[in-house]
């Protein structure tokens, strides 16, 4: 068997994470391959969302937390003291569980990040809006109502808008925290299709409660339990012939 040198964009090395005295993650070592979809699964409270939020330093916003170990993004430890979390978040976008567009117009939702990044040229911004909305297949639905409030869109449309808003920032990685758990099956299918097309240009790391979803869309799957990474393998292997008995028990529905 030939080993191909894989291109890992994010690597975690022995990461521990504490909420106060509570240890939410212990000794997580994982490599996330570039332009692939990696799914994080496991029962509620297993630490999968916590890990996701560590990858773009969103947990910084919670008081009384502490990280140990290293998280390397393109070989640079993002928790090093000289790293600006704002810069990390510009390169690593995030989509949340509940669609959270700003109470602004659809247009201004998309232009939020580019304007912060200092893009002022209106032609460039307009092109970016169109491009981002086309990437999430929302353009045809909203091109005539760009000035309307994003709050008037349906839940599924709002979530696609949130993805477009993250894409407008031109990130390298997109983190998704159960992006379809608040959506109906049709909207879910649209988002899943979207993830499949987005992985050509982006690395996607997705937390999901839905094991079928992980099986459908991801190349790699990590199974978490009680703050530990139990198994991390190719998705096909995890769902057909996992190495660890515990994983098999979870996937076949024996617990969780």
């Amino acid at each position: 068997m030939v080993t191909v040198e894989k291109d890992f964009i994010i690597r975690t090395k022995g990461v521990d994470f504490f909420y106060g005295a509570f240890r939410a993650l212990s000794d997580i070592t994982m490599n996330f391959e570039k332009n692939r979809v990696t799914a994080l699964i496991g029962p509620s409270g297993c630490g999968k969302s916590t890990l996701l939020r560590l990858l773009n330093r969103m947990n910084d916003l919670i008081d009384g937390t502490r990280v140990e170990g290293e998280i390397l993004f393109e070989d640079r430890n993002i928790y090093a003291p000289d790293v600006d979390p704002v810069e990390i978040r510009q390169r690593i976008g995030m989509v949340f569980q509940k669609p959270n567009p700003f109470p602004k117009s659809i247009y201004n939702n998309i232009t939020y990040a580019p304007k912060l990044a200092g893009i002022r040229d209106s032609g460039e911004i307009e092109a970016l809006v169109e491009e981002s909305l086309k990437q999430v297949v929302l353009w045809d639905e909203v091109k005539d109502i760009l000035t309307k409030s994003a709050m008037t869109l349906s839940g599924g449309q709002q979530q696609r808008l949130c993805i477009a808003r993250a894409l407008a920032m031109k990130p390298d990685v997109i983190l998704m925290d159960e992006p379809t758990s608040a959506l109906d099956p049709i909207s879910t299918a649209k988002i899943e299709e979207l993830i499949d097309t987005l992985k050509k240009h982006y690395t996607i790391i997705i937390v999901t409660h839905n094991m079928q979803q992980a099986a459908r869309i991801s190349e790699y799957t990590g199974f978490f339990y009680l703050g530990k990474l139990i198994e991390f393998n190719a998705t096909e292997k995890i769902f057909t012939n996992p190495d660890v008995k515990h994983t098999e028990d979870y996937i076949t529905g024996r617990f969780g």
């Binding site: 773009n56 969103m58 916003l61 704002v86 810069e87 978040r89 510009q90 976008g93 995030m94 949340f96 509940k98 669609p99 959270n100 567009p101 700003f102 109470p103 602004k104 939020y112 990040a113 912060l116 990044a117 409030s149 709050m151 839940g155 709002q158 949130c162 808003r165 993250a166 920032m169 608040a182």
Partner: protein, 302 residues
């Protein structure tokens, strides 16, 4: 049978309780209604002597002269002037302190600041009036070489101190009500804390903040004791911010005691009360309209 009787008494009780609560709820409405009736009954007769336009826009307030003149335009201007300058001070201070308390301050400082601002709200207005008369007034007079330190600036500063807690605490509630999801979304898009505050949190809370400002204005324009003590009491249209004025509330409070019962002067003061009531009513309606509009187009719906 027994069971049915039981449920019958229960029903009677329910109805009785409902009516009791209803009665107390409507009692305040009833009281307001009675006060209004009284206010209008005592105020309206003035307009047999003088037209509404002459009353509102007349520039001479000589209620005890013969013949008396009941033009309250100087009083209206006085009220509006002190309120306007009070807001100029209180709005930025109130909003900025609310932003600091809600979004920036560490937990310890937040608690201290909050209780101090609440204390400010509890300060008796007469104490504030004393402070204005004894400390601020003489200081203004000396520093700016004025004939009197009791003027628009003094009153505006004192009223601002009274309006700040209202503006600050209501704005603070509005800022807290901004869903956490918006903040997270902003941070995740690479915004800094201050970019998030300015571009997301304040705009999302803007209707609540506007309500706070208008209620603060209503508080300032209705305030009596402070302006009675420090506004100077001159019933003339001011030409500079260092002129003394006589706001409507001060005029009513000062003159009611000496106005003969049901004389023209007496009716004129009640009519002034009607004008004041209309202004605060308008402020409240505007505040209500803004906060309602916010609710409809509101936040985070799925």
């Amino acid at each position: 049978m027994k069971n049915r009787k039981h449920s019958l008494t229960k029903r009677v009780k329910e109805i009785a309780i409902r009516n009791l609560f209803g009665f107390f709820a409507f009692l305040s409405v009833l009281l307001l209604g009675l006060i209004l009736v009284f206010l209008f009954r005592e105020g309206i007769p003035l307009f047999k002597q003088i037209s509404v336009a002459d009353f509102l826009f007349g520039t001479a307030w000589y209620p005890t002269y013969e013949p008396p003149e009941y033009g309250i335009w100087p009083l209206i201007v006085g009220s509006l002037a002190v309120t306007f300058f009070a807001c100029l001070i209180a709005v930025p201070l109130g909003i900025l302190s609310a932003v600091y308390i809600a979004e920036i301050a560490p937990a310890g400082i937040k608690e201290i600041l909050k209780s101090i601002i609440e204390l400010l709200a509890g300060l008796p207005s007469v104490v504030l009036g004393f402070f204005g008369m004894v400390i601020v007034g003489p200081w203004l007079q000396e520093t700016f070489d004025l004939p009197t330190g009791l003027n628009i600036v003094n009153a505006a500063v004192m009223l601002a101190i009274m309006a700040i807690p209202t503006i600050s605490s209501i704005s603070e509630d509005a800022l807290y009500a901004v869903p956490r999801e918006f903040k997270e979304a902003s941070y995740a898009l690479g915004a800094t804390r201050y970019e998030t505050i300015i571009r997301v949190i304040i705009p999302a809370a803007l209707s609540g903040i506007s309500t706070a400002v208008i209620l603060g204005m209503a508080r300032a324009i209705g305030e009596t004791m402070v302006v009675l003590m420090v506004a100077g009491g001159a019933a003339a249209i001011p030409e500079s911010i260092f002129d003394a004025v006589r706001p409507m509330t001060a005029s009513i409070a000062a003159e009611m005691g000496e106005a003969p019962f049901r004389s023209g002067h007496y009716h004129a003061l009640f009519a002034t009360g009607i004008v004041l009531f209309m202004i605060t009513l308008a402020f409240n309606l505007i505040a209500d309209y803004i906060s309602n509009r916010f609710r409809e187009t509101g936040s985070g719906t799925l």
